[in-house]
């Protein structure tokens, strides 16, 4: 691998950052889809030039964009007016159509009443590790959809909402499937995380799902210690070599499971705050984990105005602050849940974007950091691709 491409989604468009394997000198391209919110932009692990983007707007709704040439050109895959699909009568803007299957049902609203599911946007796109035309989409209001034709059409996997969906409740950021982890060993096993419902797992390719939240404690938000759902999970992460071990950044608490989410235990240890959003695992060291502690649920910025990534090299509990190259005074940005990523180069690269528009890179596993860009719109997501 000799190059990296960083895909950045922001409040006002997407940006593509590129560098060689040293990750010192960067080119910046964008904004793509200027003015639109790009919640997530991610490439296929099978074909890195196949990239999917979730382009959204409170005014104009949801658009799915696809590139087949590494982000140089884009198309809305179900909206072709000239191709064979159009001639066959299928060109109907289907790629932007996310309709819940069957009876829509209700979930819990902030005031405890029931409210009908209503599609708002795609938060997360997870391309399959096996087929570039197959992608999962995590959406708000919480649900999971799948395409098997490169994004031209999408269908819901409604079994997820059957997993006590009537008890799910939105958090401050809404109620969305924001994380999708595909088990690389077992195509039938998928984990998702939902704010504020928890972690769910399927073992049959998405037909049926069950809550997997045993061991999570949310004593102020969820007084019932045995509550199966309702936990505000911010992010979960997996190393592909060890898919039964997951790490979680919860609303409060950093957690770990060693049995595919059958049970969780806390590994917050000596963190200055165990509140935060992203969590990532080192590309080559399955027990090396990164988080960005945030002061509190009411104060979404680093503790003491010092932007510090924390790294554990032993799977949690013992954490060290990584500060070299990061602002250590007067820094009051946030790092959102989908805005951290790692590359598989040697040494492993770590990337994260902030609500202040900075994207930082560490080309030495977190020991030192540099900003790639400093003045983008607020960053919603960061993904990295290693290219030959």
């Amino acid at each position: 691998m000799s190059r990296v491409r960083v895909l950045v989604g922001t409040r006002k468009g997407a940006f593509i950052l590129a560098a060689d394997g040293k990750r010192r000198h960067w080119s910046v391209r964008g904004p793509l889809f200027a003015g639109w919110e790009i919640y997530h932009i991610k490439g296929s692990p099978v074909d890195p030039d196949r990239i999917y983007a979730s382009q959204t707007s409170s005014w104009f709704g949801q658009i799915i964009q696809r590139s087949d040439d590494g982000g140089r050109t884009w198309q809305t895959p179900g909206s072709d007016t000239a191709g064979p699909a159009a001639a066959a009568g299928f060109a109907k803007g289907e790629s932007n159509r996310f309709l819940y299957a069957g009876e829509v049902g209700t979930h819990k609203w902030y005031d405890g009443t029931q409210r009908g599911w209503e599609f708002k946007r795609v938060w997360h796109l997870e391309p399959s590790g096996r087929n570039p035309d197959s992608v999962y989409a995590g959406v708000e209001d919480a649900g999971i959809f799948r395409t098997s034709n490169g994004g031209a059409t999408w269908e819901e996997l409604p079994g997820l909402r059957c997993a006590k969906g009537h008890l799910w409740q939105p958090g401050a950021g809404g109620m969305a499937v924001h994380t999708i982890l595909l088990d690389p060993r077992n195509a039938d096993r998928i984990f998702v995380a939902i704010s504020a419902a928890g972690v769910f797992r399927t073992d049959d390719g998405g037909q049926t799902w069950a809550p997997r939240n045993r061991g999570l404690v949310s004593k102020y938000e969820l007084p019932d210690p045995d509550a199966e759902v309702g936990h505000c999970v911010h992010r979960i992460a997996m190393h592909p070599s060890r898919p039964d071990v997951l790490f979680m950044q919860k609303h409060w608490d950093v957690m770990r499971t060693d049995d595919a989410a059958e049970s969780w235990h806390e590994v917050s240890g000596n963190l200055p705050s165990d509140f935060g959003f992203p969590i990532e695992v080192h590309a080559h060291e399955p027990d090396t984990v990164f988080v960005v502690p945030i002061k509190s649920d009411a104060e979404h910025y680093p503790v003491d105005g010092r932007l510090r990534v924390y790294r554990s090299r032993c799977g949690g509990n013992e954490w060290e602050a990584l500060t070299r190259g990061l602002p250590q005074q007067d820094c009051y940005v946030n790092v959102l849940r989908d805005a951290m990523s790692v590359d598989p180069l040697e040494p492993c690269g770590i990337y994260f974007g902030t609500t202040g528009g900075q994207v930082y890179v560490s080309a030495d596993s977190g020991d030192s950091w540099e900003s790639i860009v400093r003045d983008l719109p607020a960053v919603l997501s960061v993904e990295v691709q290693a290219l030959p």
Partner: protein, 98 residues
């Protein structure tokens, strides 16, 4: 020939620079013009009207001849000036925020 002015984000999406000109067969109603628009530009489906219900999205406004037509039913006939092509139908993103 019906003239339609799209907001900038939808012009960008549909790949058009200026006004859109559409042929509408039959009565020139709000619904018929939006149907013709979406037929010509399928990518606009769901951006002005909801996919499932065809209801106007909450932050979309429709104007013509200085009148707000946002709350007119789909069967409402557009003004003669729009039907005759001397005035456009304006599709606008509502002011939201500060």
């Amino acid at each position: 020939m019906i003239r339609v002015v799209l907001p900038q984000p939808l012009r960008q999406l549909a790949g058009v620079d200026g006004e859109v000109r559409l042929d509408v067969v039959g009565p020139v109603t709000l619904g018929a013009v939006l149907d013709a628009l979406e037929l010509r530009y399928p990518v606009l489906r769901g951006t002005i009207r909801e996919h499932a219900t065809h209801r106007r999205r909450p932050l979309i406004r429709l104007f013509a001849c200085g009148e707000d037509l946002s709350f007119e039913p789909p069967a409402a006939r557009l003004p003669d000036e729009v039907a005759g092509g001397s005035e456009p139908l304006l599709i606008i993103g509502a002011i939201a925020g500060g």
